[in-house]
């Protein structure tokens, strides 16, 4: 039987279950491992995990080593949602036919992808898997850039961020487009549970992860994963940067149930200006030149609008 595990404090969570080995190649200060570790520690159920190609994958399964002390599969850049669909279908078939070694062992199916593989190249695969209704949780480790290949822009890269394929320069302020609203898109699929979370709010993230695993059907979780290398901040500041992200409302924390019921799960006591968040990262440094002042204004307005929109939806229960 699958039960929701009781976790009282952060220490208990971080040491609960060591199925994700500390020995991996992720950058010091990378938020990926914090999120993955929290997921794997939040349950005692057996886990089948798939990963898209990306930082997490290349840093945790370089032959002859593996950081995964549970079943794990990686196929390509785009198809973690489908490899987990296949594994989940096989589980159902074998359970029905009675060919599982331990048919009563509780199993959860989880897929990880970066934003490149989730917002862009793997979007179709994710959409298909959610439409089909497989019982799995997809977690996007959203660092807003193709970090594994050295910082190219993705559909998640926010306005004005300087990336290697949309660099800031003499006549450009970096990326011209806004970040795609993937959380909204996944909620529109009618998935039973969709949420946005951030590792600095670990209790909120824990609750969402446990809710996700307990939900029958497809779940999408978008996890903000601060990237020391591409966002350009000191590796020791990962959680501090995440605090700025959630407290400036650049990354509002909320959940949407059955595509309809939106709940805001964190309301900062003191909302800080967006420029404080942007100013703490090298990728936005050029936005503070006088000629880019309008981009900073556009940023603040977009964040205010989104917060307003989320609150209205929450109030209207839609």
């Amino acid at each position: 039987m699958s039960t929701i595990k009781k976790i009282r404090n952060l220490k208990e969570l971080s040491t609960a279950n060591d199925r994700f080995e500390g020995a991996h190649l992720l950058c010091p200060g990378c938020a990926h491992s914090i999120i993955v570790r929290e997921l794997m520690n939040c349950t005692d159920d057996n886990l089948v995990i798939s990963s898209n190609t990306g930082c997490l994958e290349v840093c945790t399964a370089v032959y002859p080593y593996t950081s995964w002390d549970t079943s794990w599969i990686h196929i390509g850049f785009e198809n973690a949602a489908t490899s987990i669909s296949g594994a989940e279908a096989m589980y159902k078939a074998r359970k029905r036919k009675g060919t599982l070694k331990d048919p009563d062992a509780p199993v959860k199916f989880v897929a990880f992808g970066g934003d490149g593989s989730t917002y862009d190249i793997g979007f179709q695969w994710l959409s298909g898997a959610v439409e089909r209704g497989h019982d799995f949780t997809y977690i996007c480790l959203d660092n807003e850039v193709y970090a594994n290949t050295g910082g190219q822009r993705s559909g998640s890269t926010p306005l004005g961020s300087s990336t290697t394929t949309a660099p800031a320069g003499r006549v450009s302020y970096g990326k011209k487009q806004m970040k795609k609203d993937l959380v909204g898109i996944m909620a529109a699929h009618g998935a039973p549970y969709v949420a946005q979370m951030s590792p600095n709010k670990w209790k909120d993230m824990l609750k969402k992860m446990q809710k996700a695993l307990a939900t029958e059907g497809p779940v999408f979780l978008n996890a903000i994963s601060a990237c020391t290398t591409e966002w350009k901040f000191d590796p020791k500041d990962t959680i501090a940067i995440s605090d700025l992200a959630t407290d400036s409302l650049v990354f509002p924390l909320y959940e949407i149930i059955n595509g309809r019921e939106l709940n805001i799960t964190y309301r900062p006591k003191n909302v800080i200006p967006v420029k404080d968040y942007l100013g703490a990262q090298g990728r936005f440094r050029h936005l503070f030149k006088p000629e880019n002042a309008h981009i900073l204004e556009q940023w603040q307005k977009a964040v205010d609008d989104q917060w307003e929109y989320l609150q209205r939806r929450e109030e209207a229960r839609v």
């Binding site: 057996n46 089948v48 798939s50 994958e57 290349v58 399964a61 370089v62 032959y63 002859p64 593996t66 995964w68 002390d69 549970t70 079943s71 794990w72 599969i73 990686h74 196929i75 390509g76 785009e78 198809n79 489908t82 490899s83 987990i84 669909s85 296949g86 594994a87 279908a89 096989m90 589980y91 159902k92 078939a93 074998r94 029905r96 036919k97 060919t99 599982l100 070694k101 331990d102 062992a105 199993v107 179709q124 695969w125 959409s127 298909g128 439409e131 089909r132």
Partner: protein, 407 residues
């Protein structure tokens, strides 16, 4: 429990339905598929079996062929029997994952209904999709008719799932000519067929939590080469298993399959080597040529396109004086793939038979009995004069001036 189906001793099935029946009888655990002409009826046929209670496994209709094969890989890694079907553009979309399936040593069965690759868009049969798979590390079996599509699909599970093989297997049949032509087929009864294929024996499965497994690791220059070499060894070592499975199948049904099929080759002076339905037409013509024109004609066909039957081809052609290699795929600036491989097998042994490469049948262009007769006559004249009449590569039944290359 799935319902059993009572089958007559002789049924009238097309190649697609024959393949769908074989998947049903093998009691596949997960079929992850996406429809495409001309293989769609395999998926539809299987879907109807599911709807009527003949299947206990999962049937996952995904959103693309890339996802179909991705789902197969995830399912196979979870330790059960897996199959799908595709053609042409769908096959092309799958290619990325085909390499990953074989690299992870997952025994998946893919029934391929051969069809041309665009552009121009074309739904008819040729072998360009089959050729696209030839370096993918999959075993490739080739059926020439509906009966063979059924038989070889059953054999494919038994070959690929053998623990000493652990490789995915494609079973090819020609689009429309085989897939959509109703023919007499002698099926096995459900119990017999399942007993032949056998229970799936999981190995390194993701659903055994006492022994976690990592699938799809990364290797760079330190280990990649060893992995790929080992994979090559595995597919070459599968030759004995293929022979044994064919022998076992013969014992059960009386139908004999060989990695290289030969027809009237004992005393042949000239031979056509081909794949797919062309083999059957060529056999018919060879017989006529012997009767009507006294030409000692024979036919050689790789039943097993991969692993390539290098030795068997060489052996089959050791005494002929002229060979026509029939390639049904646009060669894209080279000689046809079959020509190249057959020539290599023969040349390595010092065989100096005159080799000609006939390109034919692209996009479903019919290869008539008369056209094959003309080829045999040309081969016979080459054999007798010791000199090739035309150029090495010739396009058959093509509009406009004769297209031929290489002296």
């Amino acid at each position: 429990m799935a319902e059993k189906m009572e089958l007559d001793n002789v049924v009238v099935w097309d190649g697609n339905y024959a393949a769908a029946q074989a998947l049903r009888q093998a009691q596949v655990d997960v079929v992850s598929a996406y429809p495409i002409t001309p293989s769609t009826p395999i998926v539809e046929g299987y879907g109807k079996f599911v709807a009527d209670g003949y299947v206990d496994g999962e049937f996952v209709m995904v959103e693309s062929e890339h996802a179909a094969m991705s789902g197969c890989v995830g399912a196979a890694a979870a330790g059960g029997r897996v199959a799908t079907a595709t053609s042409s553009q769908g096959f092309a979309l799958m290619v990325e994952v085909l390499y990953q399936a074989s690299g992870m040593r997952l025994p998946i069965v893919l029934t391929v209904v051969n069809r041309a690759l665009a552009s121009p868009l074309n739904v008819r049969g040729d072998h360009s999709d089959m050729y696209l798979g030839r370096d993918s590390g999959w075993i490739q079996l080739d059926a020439f008719n509906a009966q063979e599509a059924y038989d070889l699909t059953l054999c494919a599970f038994k070959i690929g799932e053998n623990h000493s093989v652990r490789l995915p297997v494609m079973v090819h049949q020609d689009g429309f000519i085989t897939s959509h032509t109703a023919q007499n087929v002698h099926p096995l009864q459900d119990d017999e067929a399942y007993a032949f294929v056998g229970e799936y024996q999981p190995l390194d499965e993701m659903l055994d939590f006492t022994r976690p497994v990592t699938y799809g690791a990364q290797t760079e220059e330190d280990w990649h080469y060893e992995h790929k070499a080992k994979q090559h060894k595995a597919i070459l070592d599968s030759r004995d298993v293929i022979d044994n499975v064919f022998a076992e199948f013969e014992k059960l049904t009386g139908r004999k399959y060989n990695r290289v099929e030969t027809y009237m080759m004992e005393d042949a002076d000239v031979a056509i080597i081909a794949l797919g339905t062309t083999v059957e037409t060529a056999r018919l013509v060879a017989e006529e040529m012997r009767k009507e024109e006294g030409i000692k004609a024979g036919v050689v066909a790789p039943r097993c396109f991969r692993p390539f039957p290098f030795d068997g081809i060489r052996e089959a052609l050791k005494n002929v004086k002229a060979v026509g290699c029939m390639d049904r795929s646009a060669p894209g600036g080279a000689l046809g793939a079959l020509f190249n491989e057959v020539s290599a097998a023969m040349h390595a042994d010092g065989n100096s038979a005159l080799m000609t490469n006939y390109i034919y049948g692209l996009g479903g262009r019919d290869l008539t009995v008369d056209a094959i007769k003309e080829i045999y006559r040309e081969l016979d004249s080459n054999a007798k004069s010791g000199k090739r009449a035309g150029k090495i590569q010739q396009f058959v039944s093509l509009r406009g001036p004769k297209l031929e290359y290489f002296e």
